[in-house]
């Protein structure tokens, strides 16, 4: 996969390069020598990814061969879908592709759909709910807002695993196990998002909001028409964190999902991993991993600028 170079947040400015003198060339060579360990490190970054990619396009027979090939000798898409495989007979050399492995309607597509649905719903829902609350806490002079904000900040120090067991019991008592509600509803109130949005709003002047109030706009209208647009950079930064976290969410789904249909991509892949251990099955498993990574990598490539900026914003100014 071609990956476009990454944008910097605030690039380090360098003085214009002087005409190449002996000393200049020497220092440039020195620079490359100093970086040599990091170039080698980059090789160790690329190698496992390359290993994953070539695995996806090798037929099962080639995967079980030693020593392994580093360029697929007979590249194939059979790890996605193998037309030679049939459910009845034993076909030597043929295994199910990733799209033939799950006995649910739409097969693997179902998990892609589940993950997309859950991730987008949580992202949109939590940004709306948190921005509403953040607007009140940052800009409304109501009683108790200090206490509420303090509690929300304190809750950021709680690892979410502490609430895992009671939340599991709550889901069971509500009859929500194995449902989208169990994925989405407990994930909407995100303390970190609220905290970040409050800080962002506090740094903005009140004039626009005051002017809208003078013009007779209601608070809901102000939130929708003025606060949300003002928050756009902060919302973009937060949506990146939420999308990545929810897309990769594993422990919570592992506990609340029982059926095959309701698994998200991580749980479906983990199940595949526990059923099939042989090297010949790795092609289909890696194909599943590749498919699970494509949406977030595309998301990254499209919003690259926001990624680095968002990470820096939350890390440095938050």
């Amino acid at each position: 996969m071609a990956v476009a170079p990454m944008d910097t947040v605030a690039p380090v400015r360098r003085p214009p390069r002087r005409a190449e003198t002996g000393a200049g060339r020497r220092s440039r060579i020195n620079g490359h020598l100093l970086r040599l360990p990091f170039y080698l490190l980059a090789l160790t970054m690329v190698a496992p990814f390359y290993w994953l990619l070539i695995t996806v396009f090798k037929p099962p027979s080639e995967l079980a061969r030693t020593p392994p090939s580093f360029v697929p000798r007979s590249p194939t898409f059979a790890n996605f879908y193998d037309p030679g495989w049939t459910a009845q007979g034993v076909n030597p050399g043929h295994l199910q592709g990733i799209f033939q492995r799950f006995q649910v309607d739409f097969g693997f597509w179902r998990f892609l759909f589940n993950s997309l649905l859950i991730t987008t719903t949580i992202t949109a829902g939590s940004l709306l709910i948190c921005s509403l609350a953040a607007y009140v806490i940052a800009k409304h002079d109501i009683r108790g807002r200090r206490v509420i904000f303090l509690m929300i900040i304190a809750s950021m120090m709680v690892p979410w695993q502490t609430t895992l067991i009671p939340n599991y019991v709550i889901m069971r008592n509500l009859g929500w196990l194995d449902s989208y509600a169990a994925y989405i509803v407990p994930a909407l109130a995100k303390a970190f998002v609220l905290f970040f949005l409050v800080q962002f709003l506090q740094s903005l002047p009140n004039e626009l909001i005051q002017a809208a109030r003078v013009d007779g706009a209601g608070e809901w209208r102000i939130w929708w028409r003025i606060v949300l647009p003002l928050l756009r950079p902060a919302l973009a930064a937060m949506s990146i964190f939420i999308v990545l976290a929810e897309w990769n969410n594993f422990l919570w789904p592992l506990i609340i999902v029982q059926s095959d249909e309701m698994a998200n991509l991580p749980v479906a892949l983990a199940r595949l991993n526990s059923y099939f251990a042989g090297p010949d099955h790795q092609g289909a498993i890696m194909a599943g991993g590749l498919l699970a990574s494509v949406p977030t990598i595309v998301f990254f490539l499209v919003f690259q600028r926001y990624f680095t900026r968002g990470i820096a914003l939350s890390g440095l100014k938050g």
């Binding site: 990956v3 190698a47 030693t66 709680v158 067991i165 009671p166 506990i255 991993n273 977030t296 680095t308």
Partner: protein, 303 residues
């Protein structure tokens, strides 16, 4: 405290504000505050998820103090956390210093190191499991064979579990720290370095007395968030080291850590009370670490 404004008027004035807060507060109370209190209560009980919880006082914590598997999980986690955070932070800083420029070679290098941060984490774990395949078909053993070595049963060798977990963590996380450090480097005014150069300061002295001190907030952030994240490691252990339905920690529990043990006790043995006690130990560790994070104090000053 007696309020100067009657309740009805206050409600009319602030009703909308409270209505706007309500969705967040309701969810926050229902799925965070209440479960937190509930898990504290459960940690003082034996609870199997079916029969009502029976109060047993501090028994769970007493059992934890004597539980050798829990001690093993704690020492594994401690070793893993320290090694992965120290290595990860140093490499993040090194990468940022090496590749902070705007030219395309630097940008490509940054993208390469950042790639794991945007790849499905389960896909990465499955990839590692396949890299460390026990026979000669795996990448790890192929490389060993180039140097004339015998095939290694990577994941079944107890002494290799923590090093492999640290490797996976550092490999996957250093690009993220690098991005933070690059941003931090960009915020250092160039004039400082010019002044230092005029004064004849060496590159090392510039790094030691300008770069490093001015990067301190970034370092604090990278270290603290790294520590918190490392304490919560779960899927690396669960996906890569699990050897069967009843074993989460790998061969001889060599990869067992706090959260996998919590899962093991809570959801494979259904000792939900005992697992809650483990959850509270984790809570205390993370709580102390978070207090170190000064961002909270700064935020309160602003309100």
């Amino acid at each position: 405290m007696a309020s100067p404004v009657p309740l009805s008027r206050r409600l009319r004035r602030y009703g909308t504000s409270y209505a706007m807060l309500l969705p967040f507060l309701a969810l926050f109370a229902g799925f965070l505050i209440w479960p937190l209190a509930n898990s504290l209560y459960l940690s003082f009980t034996t609870f199997d998820g079916i029969n009502p919880a029976a109060f047993t006082g501090l028994d769970n914590f007493r059992l934890l103090a004597e539980d050798t598997r829990f001690h093993h999980a704690l020492s594994n986690t401690g070793l893993y956390v320290v090694a992965s955070v120290v290595l990860g932070t140093l490499l993040s800083l090194g990468l940022a210093l090496a590749f902070s420029g705007t030219g395309w070679p630097h940008r490509i290098m940054r993208t390469v190191f950042f790639l794991p941060s945007v790849t499905s984490s389960i896909a990465l774990m499955l990839m590692w499991k396949w890299v460390f395949f026990p026979s000669d078909v795996g990448l790890g053993n192929t490389i060993v064979s180039w140097f004339g070595g015998q095939a290694v049963a990577w994941l079944a060798t107890p002494g290799l579990a923590i090093p492999i977990l640290v490797l996976m963590s550092v490999w996957g996380g250093m690009g993220y720290g690098m991005v933070l450090y690059v941003a931090g480097l960009g915020a250092i005014p160039h004039e400082y370095y010019e002044a230092a150069r005029i004064d004849g300061a060496s590159t090392w002295r510039q790094f030691r007395h300008i770069t490093l001190p001015l990067l301190r907030p970034v370092t604090t952030y990278v270290v603290v968030t790294g520590l918190i994240g490392a304490f919560q490691v779960f899927e690396a252990v669960y996906i890569v080291f699990q050897t069967g339905a009843n074993n989460v920690g790998g061969v001889l529990d060599s990869g067992l850590m706090i959260v996998p043990y919590l899962y093991d006790q809570g959801f494979t043995h259904f000792r939900l009370g005992y697992a809650s006690a483990i959850a509270w130990v984790l809570f205390l560790v993370i709580f102390v670490l978070s207090l170190v994070n000064l961002r909270v104090g700064r935020a309160m000053k602003e309100l």
